[in-house]
Symmetry: D2
Subunit: 279 residues, 4 copies
Amino acid sequence: MNIGIVARLDTEDAVRLADKIVEFLQEKKINLTIDCSLSLKLGKYKEISCELEDMDVDMIMAIGGDGTILRTQNFINGKKIPIFGINMGTVGFLTEIEPEDVFSALEEVLAGNYFIEKRMQLRVCHYQELPSALNEVVIMTRKPAKMLHIEISVDDESVEELRADGLIIATPSGSTAYAMSAGGPIVDPRVNAFIIVPICPFKLGARPFVVSNQSEIKVKLLRKGKKAMAVIDGQFEEEINYMDEVIFKKSDNYAFFIRLTKAFYKRVREKLTEGGISP
Amino acid sequence: MNIGIVARLDTEDAVRLADKIVEFLQEKKINLTIDCSLSLKLGKYKEISCELEDMDVDMIMAIGGDGTILRTQNFINGKKIPIFGINMGTVGFLTEIEPEDVFSALEEVLAGNYFIEKRMQLRVCHYQELPSALNEVVIMTRKPAKMLHIEISVDDESVEELRADGLIIATPSGSTAYAMSAGGPIVDPRVNAFIIVPICPFKLGARPFVVSNQSEIKVKLLRKGKKAMAVIDGQFEEEINYMDEVIFKKSDNYAFFIRLTKAFYKRVREKLTEGGISP
Amino acid sequence: MNIGIVARLDTEDAVRLADKIVEFLQEKKINLTIDCSLSLKLGKYKEISCELEDMDVDMIMAIGGDGTILRTQNFINGKKIPIFGINMGTVGFLTEIEPEDVFSALEEVLAGNYFIEKRMQLRVCHYQELPSALNEVVIMTRKPAKMLHIEISVDDESVEELRADGLIIATPSGSTAYAMSAGGPIVDPRVNAFIIVPICPFKLGARPFVVSNQSEIKVKLLRKGKKAMAVIDGQFEEEINYMDEVIFKKSDNYAFFIRLTKAFYKRVREKLTEGGISP
Amino acid sequence: MNIGIVARLDTEDAVRLADKIVEFLQEKKINLTIDCSLSLKLGKYKEISCELEDMDVDMIMAIGGDGTILRTQNFINGKKIPIFGINMGTVGFLTEIEPEDVFSALEEVLAGNYFIEKRMQLRVCHYQELPSALNEVVIMTRKPAKMLHIEISVDDESVEELRADGLIIATPSGSTAYAMSAGGPIVDPRVNAFIIVPICPFKLGARPFVVSNQSEIKVKLLRKGKKAMAVIDGQFEEEINYMDEVIFKKSDNYAFFIRLTKAFYKRVREKLTEGGISP
């Protein structure tokens, strides 16, 4: 077994925990591959370091927040490497365990007491294929508080035309992230659907839509002279021009996660009710 | 071909239109079967009348509102007879055409220019199997404005415990009916999911949930001494007692509808924005 | 000083606490007046008992939930007697203190360390004047899940016409009660306004309205043959017929409460976020 | 009588209409003062042109959208000059009449058949006093989709702490603008209150708050390293730093509008239901 190690580098705690995890796993004689930038930050493990996109491992431990997971998945997309997330962020919806449980959880994982959860992704095209989204694509203005004029269609049937700050096309994984903030429903990850949620629509009565993941969603910018951008999982930005179409479909690639327990709804209650603000 | 004819009987217009449709189809030498109570109301067609649940026909024309469709489907459930709905109600989300277009639409249907849309239903169990729901099951107090205390679980994972006026478990077909009024998302009929929407939850932050139609939803009444009822498609009522569980799954039976055009989102815009109130 | 004592009688705990409070106050030589039905339940204090509506006291201690407070206020309306509420209910938004703090709080009150909060009420007319509402008036169908067709106007300008399960006209005090469940905003008790919130409107885009308490609100039932009822503070019911108008204005009478601290927003966070369900 | 004339300059139609209005009024021998930039654009009326902030007139006609009105009010704030708005924008909530009715409406106004509506404004302080807001102040991130961590207090009582894209503090006039898009209630302009509406709060259960206009609202930025900006009526921007407080109170200055009819709720229905998109 070969485990890759990735961490967010902007908090000392995550870097230090990553170091301890490496030591713990090396003692157990597990083969490790360390993300280059983490190795550089630690000033160690250069001989077993590697670029994230080149990692050829059986599993990746990601020490960080949801952003770390989304970024990691983006680099390994298409490779079927499961991610085991340790929460060093404020929310940690995609991570599996809290830092205090990391070593007991690792024992479980090494003993094979885990299962792999498959999460659907969103394929995004704008002239050419863009990176897939595990959570969501947000279409928004480049300048805050300037409205877009958007037309949405599903399988070539027009759904709605609206003026709004932006639009979110989310997977069920994304239903507990930005789509939730914009007023969308909580969607169980097992549902084969996408969610369309307008951001601050200038209209009484705009509602979230849930559409099949077998459908093709098209979003078109109608307002002349307004530029927009599509932000994929908070990681990747693409500029969108007037009359451009952005097309969304189910991706052929899934994201894979190491899970120790099923607890989707428990997370919803614990992480979203009080705003998930860590003390 | 044998066409069954059903109508709502509480408005003169629907009864009169049903009569005209019968005459129109008889002139075309189509075999007809008339719902007993309609035949009685018209004082005609006794020789070709039959109880709705015994109808052995290729298609049923239902002249009325969504209530007429729901009632008809309830009687023929399990039989794969498609329904062709003529809107004589205030909303008519499940009906296919408006009364002014009935004869030209009938010509199209007789010429075979239609397709059949399949709609998923909800199987409901409370000690024993109850009638399936095409739109929704509403669990509510017997006395208005008295709150229920409800526990919801999905595949035996607890989702939420809440106090509310009631709870709606809806199919995608029901997402544009009562579930919409209670704040649920619009769900495309092609999505394989159910929607759980609390009615007036006494809590900041209760949200609609969308769950897979492969899941089993359990609803349990927690408040001692409070009786509730489950109302299926507005047609059938069942009393629910303290600590009772009501279980929801995908039904094996579908409802079938004659459609001339695909226009789900057009209906949403036209029928729900202004409240669908006919003049 | 003369203190009146009222309690909910359907829970042993409230009755027992009321008894202890009476003993505590008698030891302090405070003149007391006990609500007749409480005296009867306790089998004591007959010589100092009195009907609630006849109480001539400086303050009333109400041991119970929000229902107890609303019922008490209803009986003493117009009299300017402040209520000191001890929470023996599930929520207790209108009560001031929790039962464990009752004796220390009483010491404070007897020492004069309190202030009086004045709360606005809603005057309700339907042919004749009905009891005023401290929280809200709910207009709803007599049969659950049957929609009303309602017209709302403010100072004779038509606001909206809608079909809904019902309608809430609430004071700011009521904004944290049923109006909150139906989706209304949280309104600070110092705001001179009423809130109009539809219950499950059958329309995309019905929104809560906030109107001045100097305005006159008129609600008219448009649907023929449907009877409705107006429920005032969950205490009083009045039948409403087709084409009837119910008229709402600011009441000349206020409700008065003994307060030890200002904590409106703290209550909102504590009592409404988790649904206020006591363990 | 002396009438000032202002117009948006980015659409030909508004400029042309302004020219016609000037001719119409000159024929009636009305004294006019033309906004400098409009005079420049038209290449006429230089002798009667003047900077907007220096206009000493009895009334200003503003030909444009809500942005034109907000900008005009901003320049004349404190002067009690009523604005008469002609809608050449997409929504026109603050304008009084549509362009096709301009000349008949002018006849009415010249005949004195109008009344003046007074609208409350919001005073904004951030170290020093900033321009007042007629509609709203939006506090948001400088970079879209990055959350702020905000603490809100009213009269020094903490209301809520939340993470969100931003926060809107609006007057009743602003309740039909951006605050409506973010999910706020519709507030009648006669209500003496402000509305606090979070933009995409990352929390289940954040609700709009309505607070008295006698209260002082304080908003504090809690997240280290994040810069934000306050945007006043979409016209004026101010940078806000970590731990800065922005303070909101009722302004001593009102905005004044020429009105021919009372039609607040009619506007809500007509301009907001269909998104107010002009063809």
